[in-house]
Symmetry: D2
Subunit: 288 residues, 4 copies
């Protein structure tokens, strides 16, 4: 079952001096993102440089803005064709079988000091049966032990700190989840997305774990449906994933995100119990 979404964002800035922006807010060019139509409007008009990351298909565009207001509007329609599976059938991939290009997602990163959380993860999750259900157990633990609280963290907060504070927002839930996975030798990465049903509407962050040869979506916040996430970017953690990197002097203004069903699209399902993936397995996964 596929669902067609209409989504987008509007961003405004007040530029004080020459500022270079790099943006990552367009829908990722995935095979399961079908019939993507989109429009990007920038006022005043500026020439763009663009880049799409091989494999993961994150899309970046960059522009230079001079003093004055800058408005950016992105509108897209896309049909999301999620891949579903029975969680009970999804095993963990032993390290001995991990594609070596996935190894970076086993390693600690700026906000995910998994190297310091090995004992914590072993103590809480080491005894659990391996597989998709173990990462679900991590998400349940997050939901039970961490408060979702705006303002609890800032853009420099690490998984360690969130774990001690017992509070955070979506990025922090994702960081802790990723940290626990990596500490258990499960590759995990940070995902930014448009999220159907998120209240209030905003960019959302979840995480993916690599199990049984492909990446599966997880969200410890329970704020949106896993099968209603339209992916923007993936990376090691929030240090690599932002919708905007400004280099210069400016003041951010409005950030407005929307996502809705396209009329006539079948109803989105309620919270699914399926395992959900939106990226195809690498053709040679496991064969390397």
């Amino acid at each position: 079952m596929t669902v067609r979404y209409k989504l987008g964002c509007e961003l405004t800035y007040e530029i004080k001096g020459p500022t270079v922006f790099i943006f990552n807010l367009e829908v990722a060019k995935l095979r399961r993102h079908i019939d993507l139509v989109e429009r990007l409007t920038i006022q005043p008009d500026r020439p763009l440089r663009t880049y799409t990351v091989p494999d993961v298909r994150n899309r970046y565009f960059s522009l230079e803005a001079g003093a004055g207001p800058l408005e950016l509007r992105y509108e897209a329609e896309v049909t999301l064709d999620v891949y579903r599976a029975d969680p009970a059938t999804i095993r963990e991939t032993p390290v001995a079988e991990l594609p070596l290009d996935i190894m970076p997602f086993l390693l600690p990163s700026r906000f995910v000091s998994s190297d310091r959380l090995a004992a914590f993860a072993q103590r809480e999750f080491g005894h659990l049966e391996q597989g998709h259900s173990r990462v679900t157990a991590i998400c349940n633990w997050l939901y039970d032990h961490i408060d979702y609280r705006r303002g609890a963290s800032n853009e420099q907060t690490t998984a360690d700190e969130s774990l001690l504070l017992r509070a955070g927002v979506c990025r922090d839930f994702a960081h802790i989840g990723i940290a626990f996975c990596r500490a258990l030798n499960i590759p995990a990465r940070f995902v930014s997305c448009y999220a159907y049903g998120l209240e209030p509407s905003d960019f959302h962050a979840v995480f993916e774990a690599y199990l049984d040869g492909r990446w599966w979506l997880f969200d410890g916040t329970r704020q949106a449906n896993l099968d209603g996430l339209v992916r923007i970017g993936v990376g090691r953690d929030a240090a690599e994933i932002a919708f905007s990197w400004p280099f210069g002097e400016m003041e951010p203004g409005k950030v407005q995100i929307t996502i809705e069903h396209v009329d006539g699209s079948p109803e989105a399902p309620g919270r699914t119990t399926d395992a959900i993936s939106t990226e195809e397995p690498a053709p040679n996964a496991g064969a390397r």
Copy 2:
């Protein structure tokens, strides 16, 4: 002028239980690494999986070892054809011209919290003339302000901590140098290498900064010659670069590194004042 090196390493482990290893200790397959001949011997013999990272050409191999001793010997000969330039001619690349695939090296990473060091870097280096000389000034600052001291750090020490401790080893010098560069919007990355002249012989870590369209080598420790570095791997920081990642129970034993001139090879030069690079510029750098 090229120099031919004979180099290698011997590693031993005592394996306690089934252990998967990933190694990154082979000479990188760069165009400027000429006539590479090499031999890898593993006792007892084990099947290998291998992977070479596109572009940067890091080489990884992975194996599973059972209980008992494991010995690994790598021997190679390679002619190093460094690229030299007059530092005075090398400008910084403005963010507006940076290839977007290089952006990750502007971002903070596990051991390089450049996001917290913006004011520090601005205060110390913000007023200096831009270009290769500014990164050299960073290296001079490192040499003057940080003590090279074995045991001052461990495998979890960050650039922040080293900066406060005012002491570290080669990895820490590299981390601080990278942090300052990134904080100044100069892309920078961590480099592991065999280093001619390093005493005592060991794996060495230095860093590269992206200036004027290519990556240039820097070393704040002054422990080896920049034009005598045979590269193994590059990455965001030491979290991504190690000669060995063991997953399992084992005890490391001997780590012995050698590097020498091949007989008949011209004398290695003394400490150079040239700017040194060993990686070709991307063909389309700046064009993206």
Copy 3:
């Protein structure tokens, strides 16, 4: 020369539920605080518990407030009789001669991790001539290397962090100064005070170093005159010194501080070059 000050503060709170407050905002009962007259008004009236710390004479009062507004007004007049000396005559006290009851001020504390800054302090100040001038050199270093910037820190910021951020407010300047002193085996402590000339008017924080048998005032911010500081409290660091500790649910409102000369009082001097102390030496200092 003595100067008479009229000073005070007004604080308001909106109490949401039963809240216990401990306050430390009254003028310390020092011998050099002469002819202290004061009035404390609390609306609505509440019974107080009070406590004065032996020796250092910090004064605390505690009260319980119920839901509703709470207003507190403290007014005082005091003649400040600072002790002055020629800095050139003030040596450092060798550890071998330090009164043992002063030892706690050599040790690291919550916001002053002097144990991690030994090398930093040695590198910057270890070679300087010992004495009052060395602590002045620390203050000059603070003024030159750290930006005074509101909002740069919060109530959990440590000296380490401020040193990396190169920015802070008065508490942070005091913390770094204390850290460097302790790292050099000079006892140092945190001081809260009313500060004549501070703009905008606020509670101020400075630090004291123990040299040659008594405590001397220092301020790396250069925001107020050392001989115009009317002391409230001293402690290891800001973890021990606050004007108010609320236990309960409330919202702070107004915080208004005033300090001015009493009419007819001689003009306050400009920035002094004298060494300034407001606490008598312990009668048996050095004899223990």
Copy 4:
């Protein structure tokens, strides 16, 4: 029931250059430490300066040592008359009733960042019935969640870090326990002691919580009997409590601790379920 202990320590150092030592290893001069006889021998003989802290009765002595070997032997006999009570009768002291001189033990300190653990403590222990049993619940949590592991920490490890590492030694268990107590508005402090039954014999660290008008002993490690602890010192945390602070160049040698029953003394009891205290309540506790 009282028990008489014979205890002591032997310490050796190799002094490289003039070194000042401050020691805190003598039995505290408490009223419940009865018939204390002791002998301190230092080779070579050195003049001592001594200091006993008012109220808590920590005892310090200081000496200067020149180059060469230094040997220190402390021998003591003391009858320990612990105070016992039924835990069920011990309530928590509301903040409104806390003697104000105890407030420092509510505040965060170098290794006890209780200010960052408020939510953690509330989540785990906030719902439990108040009283001695709640601190026992904290100790049980420590025993269940933290591994006792030598080498897991160093002298700069904080409660935060131990909580993430899920491992530590006695000082770390004490730090976490203290942190949780303070986060719950229960005053708590660090205690160093000779501990009967500790294997292998060593200085031990436990903590005390202030409940119902007096200090009660707690130990999350379960390594020794609470009624077999002969107290040396109390302080905010391990930053204030060490058996030795050397200022100078030296190398520590032997550290040998002994504690045994004096012949004829009644058998020490097994692990007690009584609440245990060794310090008298302040005569005016609660009256201030």
